[in-house]
């Protein structure tokens, strides 16, 4: 019987690394740093173009790092969704034009490959760039018809399958069947992350308290998901600046290095996927990042996990190895990931309750926590949690088709 799944056997990505490959990877440990984070107003922000948020986020990130426009020689934009109100499609060269730079290197993912940070490291390591900016921005609330337009002209649309919620709902349903997870488990994520948002004045759900009861009463969208399993729709942007750890020492903020990175992309769409209940790309990606960092999960103080849906958080933590398949509820219950918990997760509120800026929501929060700039939600004595030295961040794209891991450390 042939293998119909995602993972054909014997792929290069399954191969054991040679000693010299390991040495190359480990030579990057702590060599590069994230030195600035750029925010914009976020939530429902009328009267703004997507481009204006890119420009604001990038300029704020560069200023935050104590750098100047002229210093930036690399630009990477996350993908952008359909432009609204006749605005031009976001391209990295239009963004560069608007921020007044002519970078040596630039790129933009077309969809959700999520390799931005690792690309930036490549440009820095090759000596092509000294300061790379990564940005994402969008203004979805400007066009109320956008939601209806997510019909994406696929064969699956013919059968009424539309959008990421339904595809992830299918993945979550399979996981319910395979390892008996479900809303009983996800409620700890839905409620726990909102408690972090309640400590973050910039979070879209800052003022909204969410209880287990609210979760169970939440309106069904695509079963098994209800509204509170879903991430937010956000107008706004986010950006960060990456450079060498050596240069970072001369800049304004505490040095937050990139200790390890990894990636793995199972790639098969939901129609074909056999990894929807794990192991997802998080398994191999996490192993690669931990190996580069030379640490184990016991060294991780907090996690910033890409959380498009509650289930995404569960399967990512499970595949990273924080708990065995199906033991998520036991691991999560009692406030594990909440303020005061033993493994804080998504301390800004995350995509579920702070703001949706793709992988930059988790990544920049990890940086800000390690810099000690998080106010009431700051990890450490303020939130009765461990003072963080090392934070594990994830990025995930499409329907568990792509995955990237970044381990950050405060030097």
């Amino acid at each position: 019987m042939p293998d119909f799944g995602t993972a054909f056997s014997g792929l290069a990505s399954d191969r054991k690394l040679t000693k010299s490959e390991k040495e190359v990877q480990m030579s990057l440990k702590d060599k590069y740093a994230i030195v600035g984070v750029g925010y914009t107003p976020q939530g429902r922000v009328p009267g703004r173009t997507a481009m204006s948020f890119h420009v604001e986020a990038i300029s704020n990130a560069v200023r935050d790092a104590g750098l100047k426009r002229e210093d930036i020689d690399g630009l990477i934009c996350y993908r952008h969704f359909d432009s609204v109100n006749g605005e031009a499609d976001i391209t990295p060269y239009l963004v560069a034009q608007q921020v007044g730079i002519a970078p040596r290197m630039m790129s933009q993912e077309a969809n959700c490959a999520r390799s931005q940070l690792i690309s930036a490291l490549g440009w820095l390591e090759a000596g092509l760039c000294n300061y790379v900016v990564i940005s994402y921005a969008y203004n979805p609330n400007a066009d109320p018809s956008l939601f209806a337009r997510i019909a994406d002209n696929l064969t699956s649309n013919v059968f009424g399958q539309f959008g990421a919620t339904a595809d992830y709902a299918m993945a979550a349903r399979r996981a319910m069947h395979v390892f008996h997870t479900g809303p009983e488990t996800w409620k700890h994520i839905a409620v726990g992350q909102r408690k972090w948002a309640n400590l973050n004045p910039a979070a879209q759900m800052y003022e909204q308290k969410v209880t287990f009861d609210d979760y169970y009463k939440s309106r069904l969208i695509v079963e098994p998901f209800s509204l509170l399993d879903n991430c937010l729709i956000t107008d706004g942007g986010r950006a960060c600046v990456i450079t060498s750890a050596e240069r970072a020492r001369d800049l304004r903020h505490p040095v937050v290095t990139i200790m390890g990175v990894g990636g793995h992309n199972p790639s098969s769409s939901i129609e074909k996927s056999t990894i929807m209940a794990g192991p997802t790309g998080a398994r191999e990606s996490g192993k690669t990042a931990l190996r580069m960092a030379g640490i184990t999960l016991d060294d991780i103080d907090a996690c910033e996990i890409y959380d498009c849906f509650t289930y995404t958080v569960e399967i990512t933590l499970q595949d990273y190895g924080f708990f065995q398949s199906g033991e998520g509820e036991d691991w999560l219950k009692g406030g594990t990931i909440e303020p005061g918990g033993r493994m804080p997760v998504n301390t800004s509120g995350g995509l579920l309750s702070e703001a949706y800026f793709m992988g930059l929501t988790p990544l920049t929060e990890g940086v800000m926590q390690l810099m000690g700039r998080c106010g009431d939600r700051q990890l450490g004595p303020r939130t009765h949690t461990k003072e963080p030295q090392i934070i594990l961040c994830s990025d995930n794209g499409a329907i568990l088709q792509t995955h990237a891991t970044t381990i950050l450390r405060r030097l």
């Binding site: 013919v158 299918m170 695509v222």
Partner: protein, 139 residues
């Protein structure tokens, strides 16, 4: 007859054999003549052995529910009156997974691994859609 107001298949060079088969109520898939993989979605080369040596086989239309979703919100005007409706991925007897709908079944009664069989929905003069219904066990 009211106008069909849901999205229609948009056959391309890779999958037009499939939609042409559907019109005749034949559920057709590519089979690799070298390694035997029966594949969906259609592809130019076999993703397992890169052979372009391909034949077309007719699937039995039997399988089981691999996973499913129950819509309580219509993302497209055409599906509003169907709510709540079920989309499902069917693990076909022959191997491939196929995304379709479960019909003739209460959404609450759909289960993973539930045996299902094909039922054709003739939506327009040009197109028929392969959908699936539970296999009724006769006692």
């Amino acid at each position: 007859m009211t106008t069909y107001n849901k999205p229609l298949p948009q056959p391309n060079a890779d999958d037009e054999f499939f939609w042409r088969g559907c019109k005749k109520h034949k559920f057709l898939f590519q089979k690799c003549l070298d390694c035997g993989l029966i594949r969906w979605p259609p592809s130019f080369l076999c993703p397992q052995c890169w052979s372009g040596n391909t034949t077309i086989i007719e699937a039995s239309g039997k399988g089981k529910v691999y996973t499913y979703a129950v819509y309580h919100l219509a993302y497209h005007e055409g599906f509003k009156s169907d709510l709540p409706y079920v989309t499902a991925i069917i693990e076909l007897e022959e191997g491939p997974h196929f995304l379709s709908n479960i019909t003739e079944c209460n959404p609450g009664d759909v289960k993973c691994d539930m045996p299902v069989e094909i039922v054709w929905d003739d939506i327009t003069a040009e197109f028929s859609l392969p959908k699936f219904k539970p296999v009724r066990v006769t006692t």
